[in-house]
Amino acid sequence: MNHPTEHEYNEILDRCLLRLQAGEALESVLADYPGVSDELRPVLEAMLALWTSRGSDTVPVAAMARSRARLMTVTRQINTMPRPPWWKVRWTLLSGALWRARGAMVPLIILGVFAILLFSGWASAQALPGETFYPVKIAAEQIVLSLASSPADRLERERILDLRRKEEVETLLKREVEQEVYFTGFLTWKPNEGWFIDEIELDMPDVLLPLARELEDRYVFLHADLMPHGKMVVETIEARMYSITGRVTRLESDGLSVGDVWLRIEGDTHITKSLELGQTVRATIIRLREDELAAMKIEVIGPAPTPTRRPASRPAVLPENTQAPQDSESDRFIEPTPPEKQPEENPTAQETFTPEKTAEEGEKPEEEISKTPKPTSSKEVKADPTPEKVKPTRTPKKKD
């Protein structure tokens, strides 16, 4: 007879136990299972020993009476207490049910949260100013913006977002709704027609006309109230400025590259210090045209790194009477001089880029930056009188 599996063995054991409990003799039971009787015997004997070790089956009557009395006392106390309100009872039932179902609830909750996120993401992408999910849309855009890999990438993303803002305004215009809006574009004056941001007609209050004339043909940031009849009443208008930080990678007479962004240097560009390659600078810039940027201010915030010296080489064998150069240990391996002031750089991207706005009319800006840079033919770069600095070349080279 093949040795039974554990499952089969348990089945046999169970049958044997039932027969013993019914009063059958041990030998009689074992006789039916000769192949496994040697294994069964000790286990069945243990069971019999257990069974007989139960001792007395009597239960003290007094103990039972005392227990009953305790139970009745507490029951009466509960019954005389005022019943909880129906909503509390229902909450207890519901919370109990929820607790029992907690194992199944977790994946459901996770699924629910995911579905909500998906829906809100889809809903927010379609949202317009004034709608519930619009703040979610803006927040998501800011996250995407912060993930830009370079200043040029960041500028491009900003440009796309500016276009999106304009499209939202155009959609709202078609719907003829009343809504506060913010958007960006080139401010233009069309004679006999008025002020426009691209094809969007503006209602420019008289008080803003002087500023509007200064900002004509400039890339501006607008705050306006869209009226139901399609009129766009301007509340504020200002030049759209950006801030970019990075190393000077190219230097010309009429411009420089900060990271991978080419900036024109205008006559009114304010430069705090003579520029040189490798310096870390912070530039405040404006958009002259779709693909042309100009620096309003360039602030040097870190010097160019000092080039490393090669390790001092020594002859293998010194000729007689030759004194060895008095090189100190520290001179053999020279490390670059650390910059005097470390700029606060984004740990994920060396060059940062943040939009800035100029002060509104009537407010004095902290730094005197000309809001209306006029193109000049001057090619000189203004610099502090600091000697021994590299001057930019005179050959103009435009960045494509």
Partner: protein, 180 residues
């Protein structure tokens, strides 16, 4: 009164129904505790506590009770476990100290059989709590496999395996003690 009717009335905290339930199941619960802990006073206290827990569960409606006996024995097992853990403050695997609990000195059975019984119950206390519980339910209270599985919240197959291993371990312990 039928059990279902008893339970339905007990849910309304009907005193008569609760008393009937108590008298019906108290002996079973009491014997179970006494066998496990070998202490009459503890058996009374824990058995009484089990019924108070039942009253609380019925009043709060926090537990869905379908089988009163299984529910009571399961609750009693938990109370026994809590008592042992509080009393000894050590992992339940090391329960040799239970051998020093006051034994049930039944003056009616002063024979070798009493010594043997004591030997078996002492050996049993060296089993794991689950093993003790399954043997107590199956062979003391004569619960079926199905009922035992319900009380212990295990599958019937698991109960059968546990029972087999418990009996084998018990047999070995008895043999070892006999040789000493």
């Amino acid at each position: 009164m039928q059990n279902d009717e008893l339970l339905a009335r007990a849910r309304q905290l009907d005193e008569e129904a609760l008393a009937a339930i108590h008298d019906l199941y108290f002996p079973t619960v009491y014997r179970y505790v006494r066998y496990r802990l070998n202490d009459e006073q503890l058996a009374e206290d824990i058995a009484a506590e089990a019924f108070l827990r039942l009253l609380d569960a019925l009043n709060r409606r926090s537990a869905e009770i379908r089988d009163l006996r299984a529910w009571l024995l399961g609750t009693t097992s938990n109370l026994i476990f809590d008592h042992l853990r509080r009393k000894y403050r050590r992992p339940m695997e090391n329960i040799e100290d239970l051998e020093f609990l006051p034994g049930l000195d039944n003056p009616e059975t002063r024979t070798e059989e009493r010594d043997r019984n004591h030997q078996v119950r002492s050996a049993m206390r060296n089993l794991t709590p689950d093993q003790q519980q399954v043997l107590s339910l199956r062979f003391l209270l004569e619960c079926s496999i199905e009922e035992t599985a319900r009380i212990m919240r295990k599958s019937q197959g698991a109960v059968k395996v546990l029972q087999f291993r418990a009996l084998a371990a018990l047999r070995k312990l008895i043999e070892d003690k006999s040789k000493q």
